[in-house]
C-alpha cells in the first residue's frame, strides 16, 4: 500500500497543528460557532445529537493492520470502545470530546492517517472497488490512481470552497463494486483502441433529494490526463454550480441545467487549455505509484475443495462470505459487520485488534473496508480458510450473511445524526429479528436492502433492491419503500411502491414484498430481476391490499 514520504508526513503534521490552533481559538471564544463550523467540517468533525462525531478518512478503503490497531486505540481511549464504518469506506467515532479531537488526529498522523476533507464542501475521500488488485475481472488496479487523486485533491487551493460536497469513485473492473454511477465523478478503468489504459468518465451521478445516474461525458480519457481532466470538471463546476440553494448545488443539478452536451463542451474547452501543463502525469510517476500496490509474492497453489467433510456452518460461511481471487489457491474473505442486534457497520476495539492479528497471521497484513459497511481480508490461502472462519467466529465477525437481506446498508439515523428524520438502526434490528431464519435468507438469494434516515441518502436507499427512507410525518417516524434500485454495473433507481408505512409495519411490508417475489420468481431469478421483469404493480397490490 502507499507509504508516506517526508512531504506527506509534513503536510499532515501541519494540518494537525492548524486544527489544534482552530480548536483552541474556538474554545477560547475567539471563533464563534458559525465561524468554527466550516473549519471543523473540513476536518471531519460534526456536532451530532449527543456529542461531536469524528469521521476519519480511509483512502479508497485500504488499511494496514498497524492502522487498524490505531483505530482500536482511538475507540478505547477517546470513544466508547467502538467505531462505525460508513458507506464512504471511512470510519466514524460517535462519542469523542471536542477538546481531545486534536490529540486523536495527532495519534492518527503517527500511522499515516488523517480526517482531511471527510466533510465540508470540498473533494471528499475517493472510494474504490474493495477487491482492487485481487479481482479476476480487473483491467487495472484503481488504487494508484486513487492515491494520485487523493494527493491532488488534498488541500487543493482552488477547490476547497465548492458549491457543495464532491465525491469521486474509481473502479478497475466491468462489475461496478464502488457505486461509481452515483458519484459526482465516476471513473472506470478500461483499455483504449490501441490497448492503452485510460478511463471512461461519468459526471453528475448522485443520491440525496434528486437521485441521478451519472452521464458518460468522455468515453476514453488516456490515464496521463487524469488530473487535468478532473481539474477541468471541477473548474467548470466551481464557477457555474449553484450557490443560492444547497439542495440545488451538487454538480448533477448543473449538468442537468446546462444539458449534457453543453456541460461536456465546457469541460473539453477548459481541458484543452490545461491538458499539457504540469498536471500531465508521466509514465515514471504512474509507475512509481503502481509500485506501492504491487501484487504480493503469491505462492503457487492449486485451488482446493475446502468444504469437503466440514460442518454446515463453515460451508455456509464459505459460500456466502468468501469470494474468488485472481490467484489460484487464494480467496478473499468478507468480514461481516452485520451481526444481528448490532448496528450495521459497528465494530468494537477488541474486534479491530483481533482482526488485525488475524490479517497479519493469515492474510497480507492489510484490511479493506467496503462501501456496504463490511471489511475484507484480501489474500487468504484456501488451506487457511477453516482456521480463518474459526477465528472470525470467535471474534463475532463470521455471520454468514454477506449479500443476503441481513447485509443491510444503514446510516446512523435519528439515534446519532442531527439531520435525520427517523431512526434506521432500530429498523435494521426489526428486520433482522423478523427474518432470523438464515435458510430463508439463503433461499431469497442476493438481496440488497439500503436504508437512510433522511433524504440526504447516506444509506443509498435509492439504489437498494429494496430501499427504505425514513420520513417525518407530523412528528412520527414513517418509512417510504422503493424497489428495483441497483448500484452495480447496471445501475438503476428504485421506484416508490406507494404511501409510506408506519414504523412497526416495515418488516411486515418487506415480508409481503418477499412473498410476492417467492411466488412469481422463475428458476434462479433474483429479486431485482423479478422487479425488472414484472414492474412494481404486483408488489404494490399485495402491500396495500385492503385485507392484508
Amino acid at each position: 500500500m502507499y507509504r508516506y514520504d517526508t512531504l506527506d508526513h509534513t503536510l499532515v503534521a501541519e494540518r494537525v497543528a492548524q486544527f489544534r490552533d482552530q480548536t483552541q481559538r474556538f474554545l477560547a471564544g475567539q471563533l464563534s460557532e458559525d465561524e468554527f463550523k466550516p473549519l471543523r467540517l473540513r476536518n471531519g468533525l460534526y456536532i451530532q445529537t449527543h456529542a461531536p462525531m469524528l469521521r476519519v478518512a480511509v483512502p479508497y478503503g485500504l488499511l494496514s493492520t498497524r492502522q487498524v490497531r490505531m483505530l482500536a486505540h482511538l475507540a478505547r481511549k477517546y470513544d466508547r470502545g467502538y467505531g462505525h464504518f460508513t458507506t464512504r469506506q471511512n470510519i466514524q467515532y460517535n462519542w469523542p470530546k471536542l477538546e481531545e479531537v486534536p490529540d486523536m488526529l495527532a495519534d492518527l498522523a503517527t500511522v499515516e492517517m488523517h480526517a482531511i476533507q471527510t466533510s465540508g464542501n470540498c473533494i471528499r475521500n475517493t472510494t474504490a472497488d474493495h477487491f482492487a488488485g485481487i479481482a479476476p475481472d480487473e483491467i487495472d488496479d484503481p488504487r494508484p490512481y486513487c492515491e494520485i487523486i487523493r494527493q491532488w485533491s488534498t488541500l487543493h487551493p482552488e477547490f476547497n470552497y465548492l458549491p457543495r460536497k464532491f465525491k469521486i469513485a474509481v473502479t478497475g473492473s466491468p462489475a461496478d463494486r464502488a457505486a461509481s454511477q452515483v458519484h459526482d465523478i465516476g471513473l472506470h478503468l478500461l483499455r483504449g483502441p490501441d490497448g492503452q489504459i485510460g478511463f471512461e468518465v461519468l459526471v453528475g451521478g448522485g443520491l440525496g433529494r434528486t437521485p441521478i445516474i451519472g452521464k458518460v461525458i468522455r468515453d476514453f480519457l488516456p490515464r496521463e490526463h487524469l488530473l487535468s481532466y478532473l481539474e477541468a470538471v471541477l473548474r467548470v463546476y466551481n464557477r457555474a454550480g449553484r450557490r443560492d440553494n444547497i439542495y440545488k448545488a451538487r454538480i448533477k443539478i448543473l449538468v442537468k441545467a446546462m444539458g449534457e452536451e453543453a456541460f461536456r463542451a465546457a469541460v473539453e474547452q477548459e481541458w484543452a487549455l490545461i491538458r499539457d501543463t504540469a498536471l500531465l502525469l508521466d509514465v515514471v510517476e504512474i509507475d512509481r505509484m503502481r509500485k506501492y500496490f504491487r501484487p504480493l509474492p503469491y505462492e503457487k497453489l492449486p485451488d482446493i475443495d475446502v468444504t469437503a467433510g466440514r460442518e454446515a456452518a463453515f460451508v455456509a460461511w464459505y459460500r456466502h462470505n468468501t469470494r474468488v481471487h485472481k490467484v489460484s489457491g487464494y480467496r478473499a474473505v468478507m468480514v461481516s459487520l452485520k451481526t444481528p442486534g448490532i448496528a450495521p457497520g459497528d465494530m468494537t476495539a477488541e474486534q479491530m485488534d483481533g482482526l488485525a492479528d488475524l490479517a497479519d497471521l493469515i492474510s497480507s497484513g492489510e484490511v479493506r473496508s467496503t462501501h456496504d459497511q463490511n471489511l475484507v481480508l484480501g489474500d487468504v490461502r484456501q488451506q487457511d480458510l477453516y482456521e480463518t472462519w474459526q477465528r472470525l467466529t470467535a471474534l463475532g465477525l463470521a455471520t454468514a450473511n454477506i449479500g443476503t437481506l441481513a447485509d443491510m446498508i444503514c446510516c446512523p439515523g435519528l439515534d446519532f445524526c442531527s439531520l435525520a428524520n427517523a431512526s434506521s438502526i432500530s429498523i435494521a434490528h426489526q428486520i433482522t429479528e423478523r427474518f432470523s431464519d438464515i435458510d430463508y435468507l439463503y433461499d431469497l438469494g442476493p438481496l440488497e436492502i439500503k436504508m437512510s434516515g433522511c433524504m440526504n441518502a447516506c444509506g443509498h436507499h435509492h439504489v437498494g433492491h429494496i430501499g427504505i427512507l425514513g420520513v417525518d410525518k407530523h412528528g412520527e417516524e414513517w418509512y417510504q419503500i422503493t424497489i428495483g434500485g441497483s448500484a452495480s454495473g447496471d445501475s438503476s433507481l428504485g421506484e416508490v411502491i406507494g404511501p409510506s408505512v408506519a414504523k412497526l409495519e416495515v418488516a411486515n411490508t418487506l415480508a409481503a414484498l418477499l412473498d410476492v417475489y417467492v411466488s412469481i420468481r422463475e428458476e434462479d431469478e433474483t429479486f431485482l430481476q423479478v422487479v425488472r421483469r414484472v414492474g412494481v404493480t404486483p408488489f404494490r397490490e399485495r402491500v396495500y391490499a385492503p385485507n392484508r
Partner: protein
C-alpha cells in the same frame, strides 16, 4: 484609513473602493465601469495621476480583463460570503492564464483560515473581514510548508517527486 495585509505586511490602503470618495493614489471601480472607461463610454472617476483598479464580483468573468492585464495595478476579488469559492478560480486564472502581475487582493468576508489557500491561488493582498486580526492573518501565510499541487510557482508536485527524488 483601511488596514490591509499586503506582501505579508499590515499596512494602510492607499486606494478607494467603489462607493468611497476617490483617493489620490488610485480608485477601484466595478468591472462594468472599468470596461466602460476603457471603451471610452465613461469618464474615469480617478483624479489626474491616480491609477484605476477593478473589483470583480463572484459572477464576473475575469477573462474580460485579459487586454488590460499588463496595465492594471490592482484587481480586487470580492468574497461577499466566506463560503464563496469562485474567487479562488478568478485569482488563479488571472495569474496563470492571463499573466496578471499587479496586486491581487481578496476582499470582503475573508477569514484568517483562508489566506493560505488564497495565497496559493495568487493573492498577495487581503482586506480581511472586520473580525479578523491582521497580524495573525499575516502569519497564517506560513501555515503549511508543503503542498501537493503546482500552482502559481509553489513547491514540487507529488507526481514529479519520482523523478526529482
Amino acid at each position: 484609513m483601511r488596514q490591509i495585509v499586503k506582501h505579508r505586511q499590515c499596512q494602510a490602503d492607499a486606494w478607494s473602493m467603489p462607493g468611497e470618495a476617490a483617493a489620490a493614489a488610485g480608485v477601484v471601480v466595478s468591472l462594468a465601469d472599468y470596461l466602460a472607461v476603457q471603451a471610452g463610454t465613461l469618464a474615469s472617476p480617478a483624479p489626474a495621476g491616480a491609477a484605476l483598479g477593478v473589483q470583480l464580483e463572484p459572477a464576473d468573468d475575469e477573462a474580460q480583463l485579459l487586454p488590460f492585464a499588463a496595465q492594471l495595478q490592482l484587481v480586487v476579488v470580492n468574497f461577499p460570503k466566506s463560503a464563496e469559492g469562485r474567487g479562488y478560480t478568478q485569482g488563479r486564472m488571472l495569474r496563470e492564464r492571463y499573466g496578471y502581475c499587479g496586486e491581487l487582493r481578496a476582499a470582503g468576508a475573508v477569514l484568517l483560515d483562508q489566506v493560505f489557500l488564497l495565497a496559493r491561488c495568487g493573492f498577495d493582498a487581503f482586506d480581511m473581514a472586520p473580525s479578523e486580526n491582521l497580524t495573525l492573518a499575516a502569519t497564517e501565510l506560513d501555515r503549511f510548508s508543503v503542498a501537493y499541487q503546482t500552482v502559481v510557482g509553489t513547491v514540487v508536485q507529488p507526481h514529479r517527486r519520482g523523478q526529482v527524488g
